[in-house]
């Protein structure tokens, strides 16, 4: 086991295709790190540089205390799990799993012992004599995992290992990999484009975009304090809503306003913001307001709730009048989609990519009882996760309350978080 360190690592393909740019990262011993980002952002490239399958154009990669830049993969002592399993078709499961050990000239009895042990952990004892083509996708993926764990390597590298499995199996294997990690505690770097996988499995998430690291943080930290609009929009499902708003001075404090909505920034928020940047200089300027769907509630149900009352006199101002366009019943809650006037719609480049990809979550949002055309419009629509008790009706005007204590603010130019 070992830590993995990347120092100013870049990868340039050919003359000018920069796949990874100045990546700095410290993955601790035993940590489960997840590289996540949209397709083509350089996740695989970064992983393959650590594995030794790709030359490092600039910078340094350390595994443990060793600089590995010039080491071939076999001297790095890392195991890799590939998206398409990459099992050797001409070897049976036992031979597949023992291949690395055989190359190391380990004695047969020890190889057998380790393979049996791994097979037991992964419940594949019964398939040991089969060839890979006689296994299902899920079983193959287990064998691939087994091939990695028998080696007891310094680190596991996994490149979208679950993306060839169907949704249900994916969720199941997700938990199994997490359990496996808890059990053997080997440093793991896991690549995925699925933010749900990242959130559920990671000790720390590394969000990449266009080859540049956007943020490195624990799932919770990233969820609550995304550093920019991109991360805010990428992490969380359904995605955070963005609204074009203004920051104004009010009673010696600051308030965010758009249309007739007005939210005083609470003391707690301000205190946190003070650590970050001088909010005052944004007074009188446009900002991007970010609010997660779960922090919006049917105003009628929210009334008298902590949601609004901590705002003192500005109760009604905390709300927004909307006309629900789609209502999806999820059983435990409802997703309410609504439009917002054009002048307040935040058109953000970095988010556009995401919405055009059709969201980041594929598993959980299924089975919606949504009405017409939810998929087509929802890109432009905002969404609220409201209580099932809400009596919201399609097309019937209603008020939604925004939780002012949970909002985020972003610079409209740089898209960086300012609150």
């Amino acid at each position: 086991m070992a830590q993995v360190t990347m120092e100013d690592v870049s990868k340039v393909y050919g003359e000018d295709v920069v796949a990874v740019r100045d990546m700095n990262l410290d993955i601790e011993d035993g940590e489960f790190a997840v590289f996540v980002g949209p397709s083509g952002c350089g996740k695989s490239t970064a992983l393959r540089m650590i594995a030794g399958l790709e030359d490092i154009s600039r910078g340094k990669v350390f595994i443990g205390d060793n600089l590995v830049n010039d080491l071939p993969p076999r001297d790095r002592d890392v195991a890799m799990v590939f998206q398409n399993y990459a099992l050797y078709p001409h070897m049976n499961v036992r031979e597949n799993m023992g291949f690395a050990l055989k190359l190391r000239k380990m004695d047969k009895a020890e190889i057998g012992r380790r393979v049996d042990e791994a097979a037991r952990i992964l419940s594949i004892e019964h398939f040991l004599d089969r060839k890979p083509k006689a296994l299902s996708g899920g079983q193959r993926q287990r064998v691939a995992l087994g091939r990695a764990i028998v080696r007891e390597p310094k680190a596991f590298l996994m490149d979208e290992p679950l993306s060839n499995l169907d949704a249900k199996l994916r969720v199941q294997m997700r938990t199994e990999i997490a359990k496996l990690h808890n059990r053997i505690g080997t440093t793991t770097i896991y690549v995925t484009h699925d933010q749900t996988e990242a959130m559920t499995m990671a000790d720390r998430i590394v969000v990449l975009k266009d080859g540049i690291v956007q943020q490195v943080a624990s799932p919770q930290q990233m969820y609550e304090h995304p550093t920019n609009v991109f991360v805010a929009g990428f992490i969380g499902s359904p995605a955070m809503n963005f609204i074009r708003a203004r920051l104004e001075r009010e009673n010696g404090g600051l308030a965010v306003t758009f249309g007739s909505t007005r939210m005083l920034l609470g003391r707690e928020l301000m205190a946190k913001a003070g650590e970050r940047e001088d909010l005052g200089k944004y007074a009188g300027k446009e900002v991007v307001l970010g609010i997660r769907p779960e922090h919006i509630e049917d105003a009628r149900l929210a009334e008298g709730d902590a949601l609004i009352s901590n705002q003192g006199d500005g109760e009604a101002a905390n709300t927004i009048e909307v006309e629900p366009q789609v209502i999806e019943s999820m059983g435990s809650e409802k997703y309410l989609y609504f439009g917002i006037s054009k002048e307040h719609a935040a058109r953000l480049e970095s988010i556009e990519e995401l919405t055009s990809e059709g969201g980041t979550d594929d598993g959980d949002a299924e089975g919606s009882a949504g009405g017409s055309g939810s998929a087509d419009d929802s890109g432009d629509l905002l969404v609220a996760r409201i209580s099932v008790e809400s009596e919201a009706r399609l097309g019937q005007k209603m008020r939604l309350a925004l939780d002012a204590t949970k909002i985020r603010l972003f610079d409209i130019e740089t898209e960086k978080a300012i609150l």
Partner: protein, 284 residues
């Protein structure tokens, strides 16, 4: 396979009846010359010239086979054929595998142009280059040596070899090579323990096809080889003739001897050969 697909659907019985009629006619037409030559090889000289010809041999005899195997020049020719076709196959496979591996494996520009050029060589009419080749071969003094047949055979067989091997190699999952390297294999080990075992059936099939191609070659051998010591069977068979008579029975027997091993080989490996010729044409 085709039988099954022909017999499905509406009017299936009619379709499949037609299919079998066609199949029988086709088989008869293709097999007839072979069968006829076989018949010629086992009848007596007298029966051979009977008119009208007999359909079935009256008194089968192995006399013609006795004649050819008693003839040392025929034995020598068989050996020559084996040497020429064998060496051609080895050379084609050696260079063909390397070239095909690179073509299938590496990304480079103009790949399809390179492939087309390679194919174009095999379109080249052999007759057109035979005279200049003769002059050059004589100048460098390889007329009447195995080389005179092997060199042009390699030139014309190599494109075929490369094309078939590329089709095979393209099907190989190269991730496996990466997986092997991660598992601790050197490049050589990865090639030997993972790539070679997977590529072997394809390479073997290609070897058979190349061997047949070289075995059947006649034009170059007939033009560049004048000496019994180097002539392959394709050239020697017509020589079962004297100034006054042609020993058709012996020729037929020789043809059978030369063809039968190939037919047997193809029958044994036919599945692989067919999949080799069509590899990559259909995914999965």
């Amino acid at each position: 396979m085709s039988a099954a697909s022909a017999s499905t659907g509406r009017g299936g019985t009619l379709n499949s009846a037609l299919f079998y009629v066609f199949l029988v006619v086709f088989v008869l037409v293709s097999v007839f010359p072979l069968v006829w030559i076989f018949k010629m090889s086992i009848v007596t000289k007298a029966e051979l010239f009977e008119s009208p010809p007999t359909i079935l041999p009256n008194t089968p005899t192995a006399a013609s086979y006795g004649t050819i195997f008693a003839d040392p020049s025929f034995q020598k020719a068989l050996i020559n054929s084996t040497i020429i076709a064998g060496v051609t196959t080895v050379i084609c496979l050696f260079f063909g595998s390397i070239a095909a591996y690179a073509i299938a494996r590496l990304r480079f520009r103009f790949k399809s142009i390179v492939m087309t050029l390679i194919l174009a060589i095999s379109f080249f009419p052999a007759v057109a280059i035979i005279a200049p080749l003769f002059i050059q071969f004589r100048r460098i003094g390889i007329i009447d040596t195995y080389l005179a047949a092997i060199v042009p055979d390699v030139v014309f067989a190599l494109p075929l070899t490369i094309w078939i091997l590329v089709a095979f190699f393209k099907e190989l999952p190269f991730d496996l090579e990466e997986a092997a390297k991660i598992d601790g294999a050197t490049t050589i080990q990865a090639f030997r323990m993972v790539i070679v075992p997977l590529a072997a059936p394809g390479v073997f099939t290609t070897a058979i096809l190349t061997f047949i191609f070289a075995w059947n070659e006649f034009l170059f051998a007939n033009t560049f080889l004048f000496d019994d010591n180097t002539q392959p069977v394709t050239v020697v068979i017509p020589n079962f003739a004297t100034v006054y008579t042609v020993d058709y029975g012996a020729q037929a027997a020789a043809a059978v001897v030369v063809t039968v091993p190939l037919v047997i080989m193809v029958l044994i490996f036919q599945r692989r050969i067919v999949s080799g010729l069509t590899a990559g044409a259909v995914k999965g």
